[in-house]
């Protein structure tokens, strides 16, 4: 019982860690065309080159952890999202190899840069669609996916996809504000200033649409005790956005990024509250999908020891590459 709840939190943590860590480097990919060829792009790339691989590993933990802790959910959700997930994986191929390939082939650097951008964009859109499809509900038949092959494609899932693109782009821009200087820093700040209100609008639209795609959310949000969260949430979102904007105006380095992360944190918390304790909203609860006790305990021992260790050496790696990356590498 408790084990299942702990595992639900751990998987949620892995997904959140992924969004927080890979979000900004996917965002840099999305924004790549806005940076000038040459020093600006090189600097943007160099801010994430040492860490992108570790960031993406959280995606593997999210997927692998879901298989291990909630195998039934894994077996239903992944086939339901066959096309977008395949697109995401292929997008990640392009953006992953671009980190190495673009330096190896000056003549085709534009091509790999395009692959980096397109791959990042496709992966983000696919993740946004996945989010939307999950929220709007997945048809289940017995222990398998029971819907059609295009069920994931709706106006709502396109809205969540567009929102995630804006959100990751904001994280990417805010990260560059923090980690760079000179022209790329100024460009990033200008982009972040524009993306911030766009993200607010996107959050607003998704929030307005969500209660109407599935009645469960309407009840959750507008009945006691859900109101306890529904009422302060917009206030908190606006406050985080205001602080991010303040940081951008005043030329703060870390503030805009950290407050943008806070925005993401709030939306993720809202999502969690909306679907808890389901793993497939309205269809499958975490209890129904949970792996047996022996599997949960075995993994929990490892997770309890290893996740803190992982966080420690990940933090160390970020610490090693701290500070601003100029157009000439780290200073």
């Amino acid at each position: 019982m408790y084990l299942t709840i702990i595992w639900a939190f751990l998987i949620a943590f892995a997904v959140a860690a992924y969004v927080v860590m890979d979000g900004f480097d996917l965002g840099i990919g999305i924004l790549f065309p806005f940076f000038r060829v040459g020093k600006e792009r090189d600097a943007a790339m160099n801010t994430i080159a040492p860490v992108w691989d570790g960031n993406e590993t959280w995606l593997v933990l999210g997927g692998g952890g879901l298989l291990a802790a909630f195998p039934l959910a894994y077996a239903i959700i992944l086939p339901a999202l066959y096309a977008p997930l395949t697109a995401m994986l292929l997008g990640l191929v392009f953006r992953g190899v671009a980190f190495e390939f673009r330096w190896r082939d000056e003549r085709h650097r534009q091509l790999w840069d395009a692959g980096f951008c397109a791959g990042s964009l496709v992966a983000t859109v696919a993740q946004g669609i996945t989010l939307g499809a999950l929220i709007q509900g997945i048809d289940v038949n017995g222990r398998a996916y029971g819907g059609g092959w295009w069920d994931w494609l709706t106006l709502f899932s396109l809205l969540t996809a567009a929102s995630l693109v804006i959100g990751y782009a904001l994280l990417g821009a805010a990260w560059l504000v923090w980690k760079t200087e000179g022209e790329v820093h100024r460009d990033a700040r200008r982009l972040a200033t524009r993306l911030l209100p766009a993200l607010l609008a996107a959050i607003g639209l998704v929030s307005l649409a969500t209660p109407f795609v599935e009645p469960q959310y309407y009840q959750r949000w507008f009945e006691w005790p859900g109101l306890l969260v529904t009422v302060p949430m917009p206030v908190l979102v606006l406050a985080a956005a205001a602080l991010a904007r303040h940081g951008l105006r005043r030329g703060h380095d870390a503030g805009p990024f950290l407050w943008s992360l806070a925005l993401f944190g709030l939306t993720l918390a809202g999502l969690a509250i909306s679907i808890w304790p389901d793993v497939i909203p309205g269809r499958v609860t975490i209890w129904q999908a949970a792996a047996p006790r022996e599997s949960q305990i075995f993994m929990l021992v490892g997770a309890a020891v290893l996740i803190p260790v992982i966080l420690a050496y990940t933090a160390w790696s970020y610490w090693v590459f701290r500070g601003k990356v100029g157009e000439h590498g780290y200073h």
Binding site: L78, L90, F99, P292
Partner: protein, 468 residues
């Protein structure tokens, strides 16, 4: 239609896993080689080792990136295409794969950044520690994923629950160390080391043949690689034999297919060297065979009875024609590697290691042989597991996702196009780096990339890269 969808899903998994396997087969060995080079540099202070380290690190970075992105695909494909398998085996294989992520993937990824770009930032010793962590991570990764794979071949320690799931029933030790795992782990990891040694040897041979016999880096890499080939190839043959005997014990049908035996041989089975299994006729057309040798190899007794595929119901037989040939390719290449190692010992004895052109030509040709052998061996064991996904318990056809053929066909085409274009480009970049000799660019400023205090791989590498 369902048959087509199944076939396409199998083709997609075979394609993506085979492509993926190429990169770890190289990076497992190369990570260890890099750790040895850096360790030797720290211990002896000889610049030749750090030059070689830098030279192979650039190649490692590309191979590793391709391994990462093709590996992420695998971790999702269990669910997208094999959802019934995921649901039913998830409680057992899921935790093992989660341990792979937690103990291996994060370790590799977390220290890779420091390994690639951090020498300046953290100093030599911490950098060496990072290199060791990456090398250790590649090995731990092999440990877990091969444990999962071995459990699918020799499932132990399971019970069925009410939902039809395989759940742990006899402790995790029994599951992790299932009967085929120790053999498979040893054989596969050794294969990775041998593959890397052959690549390094091939590159060294290329530069020796190109008239760079006096370049110390070239001599050292060729000599190290030939020592590996001479020592590890015979070891690998022994390990392969042990693994084969283990397979005979647990998956006799696979060995029958490898041998091309359809009939029972009550008083000694021949070793068919060349032939063609004809499953529809339940016989193997034999071109060349040695009487009784198969019994000697399998049972260590010339007259031991050996059973054939006819003793197995047709619906439980693996496709013999593929396995028969993939096995012969693997074994044939293994003995060629052994021969290369022996020749290098002879050359050493005669003091001609660096100027025996025919040895270098063979080493060059054998450069990619490890990859071919690894894939052939993988095909042998995995095709040999058919028609089961979990041996004897769950058929492959019953494990597939309910996805229609057009969807699987579409994704397969997309994977083929993307993999061939992207990984062909990556391979081209690697080969281009290999064609360039280890040179002054690697030695000019041992600890300082070209840019001021830069960690960027780019400028330094670019300058080096253009040299070739």
């Amino acid at each position: 239609m369902e048959e087509t969808a199944l076939l396409l899903a199998r083709a997609q998994f075979a394609f993506t896993v085979s492509f993926h396997f190429i990169f770890p087969a190289f990076s497992i060995g190369l990570a260890s080689y890099l750790a040895v080079l850096e360790g030797l540099w720290l211990a002896t202070g000889k610049p030749v080792f750090i030059h070689l380290f830098r030279y192979w690190l650039k190649i490692f970075a590309i191979a590793f990136a391709m391994g990462v992105v093709s590996g992420i695909v695998m971790s999702y494909q269990f669910g997208t295409n094999w959802s019934v398998f995921s649901d039913r085996a998830g409680p057992i294989i899921g935790p093992l794969m989660a341990y792979e992520v937690l103990t291996a993937f994060f370790l590799e990824a977390g220290f890779l950044g420091v390994m690639l770009f951090g020498m300046e930032k953290v100093g030599k010793k911490l950098h060496f520690a990072a290199t060791l962590m990456v090398a250790l991570g590649t090995f731990i990764s092999a440990f877990w994923i091969l444990s999962v794979n071995s459990w699918m071949h020799t499932p132990t320690g399971w019970a069925l629950n009410d939902q039809g799931q395989f759940v742990p029933a006899a402790g995790w030790w029994t599951i992790i160390f299932n009967p085929s795992f120790p053999y498979r782990l040893m054989h596969t990891v050794t294969a990775a080391y041998l593959t890397t040694a052959l690549v390094v040897g091939g590159v060294g041979a290329w530069h020796l043949l190109s008239g760079r016999k006096t370049v110390p880096e070239v001599r050292v890499m060729f000599s190290m690689a030939m020592w590996m080939a001479a020592l590890v190839a015979p070891l690998q043959i022994v390990l392969g034999d042990r693994h084969g005997l283990n397979t005979l014990e647990h998956q006799p049908a696979k060995v029958m297919a490898m041998e091309g035996h359809y009939d029972d041989y009550p008083d000694g089975a021949p070793l068919i060297l060349l032939g063609q299994p004809l499953p529809s006729q339940e016989r193997t057309a034999v071109l060349l065979q040695i009487p009784k040798l198969s019994s000697l190899i399998l049972e260590h007794d010339l007259n031991a009875p050996v059973r054939g595929l006819k003793s197995i119901p047709p619906e439980d037989r693996p496709p013999a024609a593929i396995i028969f040939w993939s096995f012969r390719i693997m074994v044939g290449l293994g003995f060629l590697m052994f021969g290369l190692g022996l020749w290098s010992l002879l050359a050493r004895l005669r003091g001609r290691l660096y100027d025996w052109s025919w040895l270098h030509r063979l080493a060059l040709v054998m450069g990619p042989a490890g990859f071919v052998a690894v894939i052939a061996g993988w095909v042998t064991t995995e095709v040999g597991r058919q028609p089961w996904v979990i041996y004897g318990l769950l058929r492959t056809r019953d494990a597939v996702s309910p996805i229609a053929a057009p969807a699987v066909g579409g994704s397969l085409i997309a994977f083929v196009i993307v993999y061939f274009s992207v990984f062909a480009a990556g391979t081209y970049y690697i080969v281009r780096l290999m064609a360039r000799p280890p040179q002054a660019g690697e030695s000019a400023e041992p600890d300082a990339p070209i840019r001021t205090a830069g960690i960027t791989p780019a400028p330094g590498l670019r300058r080096d890269g253009e040299g070739g």
